[in-house]
């Protein structure tokens, strides 16, 4: 893998991690969704670059799916949902943004240490990619853990899934079927969660998931 290919792939994967941090920083739902759209766009670019670098045309399809579904359709749909639900309020984060960012930095360091050490024999590009992908996955989980709102849980989950796609495309020889099925499962998850959101709202007049806990005698 020559210099330019590697550097650009590195740049795009790093950009994805940066967008994850940007997700953590957002405290309004609509801007969170916008940043997620940007997150997905960067993913699409990274995947497209991998397609070019690995000379694997089917990865262009993956990139297209990422762009179409995750960067356009789902964010637009989510924006419409929060408009209909009328929730433009602040996100109720459990932990403050500052400590969350710090924890995120720690997670990125952790995934670098683990991945670079574990995959010593692997291809250099794949190594870096995997390290970044693991960071994105961990940051996605972090978002899910530190937010209360159901919509931000969905965003966290989808950014986590973006990390998985990044890892999958970084490895050579990933069959297209797997990627398509992953993409569709995300779409279905989105639909299910969307329906679920309206149901929660109907029942409890809010989509703060702690409202659910009251009804199952949650004890914290």
């Amino acid at each position: 893998m020559t210099g330019l290919f590697f550097d650009v792939a590195h740049l795009l994967a790093g950009g994805l991690v940066l967008m994850s941090f940007a997700l953590i920083y957002q405290d309004r739902l609509s801007s969170l969704i916008n940043v997620f759209a940007a997150h997905a766009t960067v993913l699409a670019l990274a995947v497209a670059w991998q397609a070019y670098a690995q000379n694997a045309p089917h990865l262009y399809v993956t990139a297209f799916i990422a762009l179409g579904f995750k960067a356009i359709i789902i964010p637009v749909a989510l924006q419409r949902i929060i408009k209909r639900l009328g929730i433009h309020r602040e996100i109720e984060t459990v932990v403050g943004v500052g400590p969350t960012m710090l924890a995120g930095i720690g997670l990125v360091a952790l995934s670098m240490v683990v991945m670079l050490r574990v995959t010593e024999e692997a291809d250099r590009l794949a190594r870096e990619d995997l390290a970044f992908a693991l960071s994105v996955v961990l940051l996605g989980l972090l978002i899910m853990v530190t937010r209360r709102n159901a919509v931000s849980l969905i965003i966290g989950f989808m950014s986590l899934e973006n990390g998985l796609v990044l890892a999958a495309t970084g490895a050579k020889g990933m069959p297209l079927v797997v990627e398509i099925s992953v993409a569709f499962s995300v779409l279905i998850a989105f639909i299910v969660i969307g329906v679920f959101l309206f149901r929660i709202r109907e029942r409890f007049e809010t989509i703060d998931v702690s409202a659910l806990d009251r009804f199952r005698e949650g004890r914290e």
Binding site: L110, V114, R117, L138, S210, R216, G218, R219
Partner: protein, 671 residues
């Protein structure tokens, strides 16, 4: 030539019968058909295994099925040891199936018994045939679950569901221990076939650990104290023919597992192994029969007596281990033969006694001894069979129980040859415990037989009892006859066991068929010999002479007169000597220590109108010391962990997240 493949076909037939039972459940004759077919297959298996063993076990026969672990397959092997245990299993199965042809007709819900019964038989046969750890454990679990389903057949009766629960727990515990044993034996290379385990004996420390785990795994199934707790609950709960199988045969399969692992797979024996086995065996024998003496439930009494007999067998096996560790092949062969002979004998008479208990339960509609009585007049043939079984289990010559216990004592008497000082002191003590257990067994059997069959009926149901059906009688009398034959001609059994003893102990006892007058000589004629035929002749002669003398020279007229009633006319049947009364002296002697037994007498003062009360309190100390704390601890932990069920979604996510980060940290630090 009998091969393992032929036997596997028979086992497959049993599974087929199980399927047949499911499809024909609605049909009225299903029970007769299923049990009849089971009896036929058991007879075939018995014949095949018997032919193999009597031919001197000509080389093991292997069969490999393309099932199970892919790199091993399901291996099965027929060798001398498995042939002997196949005989034990299928002898019991044959008798129980014939018995069940009659007994099963009275079953209220045959659908809960019929499909599981052949599967249970198949499981036991497969355990004995298995030749790799995977097939062994699968067959073992098959056997456990099959018998569990049978224990739960009458799950609505009081106490049965608890019995099933305790049994399931103990069975899982035992299977887990065996799994770990095989893990240790297979070693890091994962050689799960028994062949590979034989080649690579584990180092001494691991072998000792494996022995302990085997004692827990096989011992919990066999009923070694203190792991016996499930046995007196589960065995009585099952239908009687299944109780007979569980007590008479399934405990033997567990003993097979112990012998297979410890004598065959574990490598050279060490002296301290035998110490552990001997102490456990002696404790089991004495405690088992003491527990038995405290029971009023006939079947529970028999179950505890099984615990005692398992103890006797383990004493024999412990002696064999001791002799083997000290390279005394002949003495080891004697001890192994004694243990295996007792395995066979116990399978016969305990099955017989459980069947008798089933017949009595059917006739008197109770299992409580204190509500029976006087059955000898109403069920004469059952009484005869049960009497034979009781005499055999008490070790009275010329029946088979005496022969095997006598052999065990002979092995005890060889112990001065042992070099290890600890054993020199321990073995005579164990011999004393064995003698105590034998004497207590006789007391216990007199108590059970006397209270149930003699005297006057203590309940209307017992007074109206009728003789049981012909099939049951045939099975019981068949086993009683076998007890007599094996007791009178023990030499043939010992000779048939010679290949097994040579495989396990590296030597065998002198050939007995060549001895003059069919006597048996364990080591040399100068030391000791026993002739069952002679004893039988003497017993029958003296009994006949005594009867003749009484009838000839005493008053010939039969007089019927009221019994002397101590001045209390019209004493009710309940005032007879009862099972609890009989047990009282022994409860007084041993009970204070073992059972924390107390007799509470509540005597009203003069002028008070309330009745006097007498209450005997017996506590199970093993349950209180060993099991109750475990139950409390599990309950405590479960209640603490229950809070995990009521966390919020976010906390669950955090737990997943923290677990992931923790694992990654471990990876980052350790790699």
């Amino acid at each position: 030539m009998v091969t393992a493949a032929t036997l596997l076909v028979c086992v497959a037939l049993l599974l087929g019968i199980s399927a047949l039972a499911v499809t024909t459940l609605r049909w009225r004759g299903a029970s007769t058909l299923v049990y009849g077919l089971c009896a036929a297959v058991a007879l075939a298996l018995l014949g095949l295994a018997g032919t193999f063993l009597i031919a001197g076990a000509p080389g093991p026969s292997d069969a490999v099925l393309p099932l199970g672990l892919p790199w091993i397959g399901a291996r099965f092997r027929l060798d001398a040891l498995s042939a002997f245990f196949l005989i034990v299993v299928n002898l019991g199965a044959l008798a129980a199936s014939v018995y069940a042809v009659g007994y099963g007709r009275r079953e209220a819900e045959p659908g809960r018994v019929l499909p599981f019964y052949p599967a249970f038989l198949a499981g036991m046969n497969l355990v004995v045939l298995a030749d790799d750890a995977f097939s062994f454990l699968v067959a073992w679990e098959f056997m456990s679950l099959g018998s569990w389903a049978l224990v739960m057949a009458h799950h609505r009766e009081e106490g049965n569901s608890r019995a099933g629960y305790v049994y399931l727990l103990m069975a899982s515990f035992g299977a887990l221990s065996l799994l770990l044993t095989f893990g240790l034996l297979a070693g890091p290379a994962g050689g799960y076939a028994f062949d590979q385990m034989r080649l690579h004996a584990p180092p001494p420390l691991l072998a000792g650990l494996a022995l302990m785990l085997t004692l827990m795994g096989a011992g919990s199934k066999a009923g070694l104290v203190p792991l016996h707790a499930w046995l007196p609950l589960a065995h009585p709960a099952a239908p009687s023919h299944v109780s007979a199988l569980m007590s008479g045969v399934m405990t033997k399969v567990a003993i097979y597992a112990f012998i297979r692992i410890v004598f065959d797979l574990l490598g050279p024996a060490q002296v301290w192994w035998s110490v552990v086995v001997l102490v456990l065996g002696a404790g089991t024998a004495v405690l088992g029969i003491l527990y038995a003496l405290m029971q009023n439930d006939l079947k529970r009494f028999l179950a505890y007596s099984t615990v005692e007999n398992v103890g006797i067998i383990f004493i024999g096996l412990g002696l064999a281990l001791a002799f083997r560790a000290q390279h005394l092949a002949l003495a080891a062969a004697l001890a192994v033969t004694a243990a295996l002979f007792h395995v066979l004998n116990h399978a016969m008479f305990k099955s017989l006694l459980f069947m008798g208990a089933g017949a009595v339960q059917g006739a008197a509609a109770t299992r409580d001894m204190d509500r029976m009585g006087g059955l000898i007049g109403r069920m004469p043939l059952t009484t005869l069979a049960v009497l034979a079984g009781s005499m055999a289990i008490s070790g009275l010559p010329p029946l088979n129980g005496f022969a095997s216990e006598w052999l065990t004592f002979q092995a005890v008497l060889v112990s001065p040859q042992l070099a290890a000082t600890a054993l020199k002191f321990l073995v005579p003590a164990v011999g004393g415990m064995l003698a105590l257990a034998a004497a207590l067994t006789a007391a216990a059997m007199v108590r059970a037989f006397g209270v149930a069959f003699l005297g006057r009926p203590r309940s209307p149901a017992a007074a109206a009892a009728a003789e049981t059906d012909r099939w049951s009688l045939a099975a019981m009398l068949f086993l009683a006859a076998l007890c007599l034959v094996a007791g009178v001609l023990p030499g043939f059994v010992i000779d048939a066991l010679a290949p097994v003893a040579s495989a396990l102990a590296g030597g065998h006892m002198p050939q007995q068929a060549r001895q003059p007058w069919l006597s048996i000589v364990p080591i040399a004629e100068s030391r000791s010999s026993y002739n069952g035929l002679l004893v039988l002749g003497f017993v029958s002669m003296s009994a006949a002479l005594a009867a003749l003398a009484i009838h000839r020279f005493a008053s010939r007229a039969v007089r019927r007169a009221p019994a002397w009633d101590c001045g209390f006319p019209d004493a009710g049947p309940m005032t007879q000597y009862s099972a609890s009364s009989f047990a009282q002296p022994i409860r007084r002697v041993f009970g204070g220590f073992v059972f924390a037994a107390r007799d509470v007498v509540d005597m009203p003062g003069p002028g008070e109108m309330r009745p006097a009360r007498f209450k005997a309190v017996v506590r199970d100390r093993i349950w209180e010391i060993l099991y109750a704390p475990i139950a409390v601890a599990v309950d405590f932990i479960a209640r603490r962990l229950n809070r995990l069920q009521f966390l919020t979604i976010r906390v669950y996510l955090s737990l997943v997240f923290l677990a992931l980060v923790g694992l990654l940290l471990v990876l980052a630090v350790c790699v």
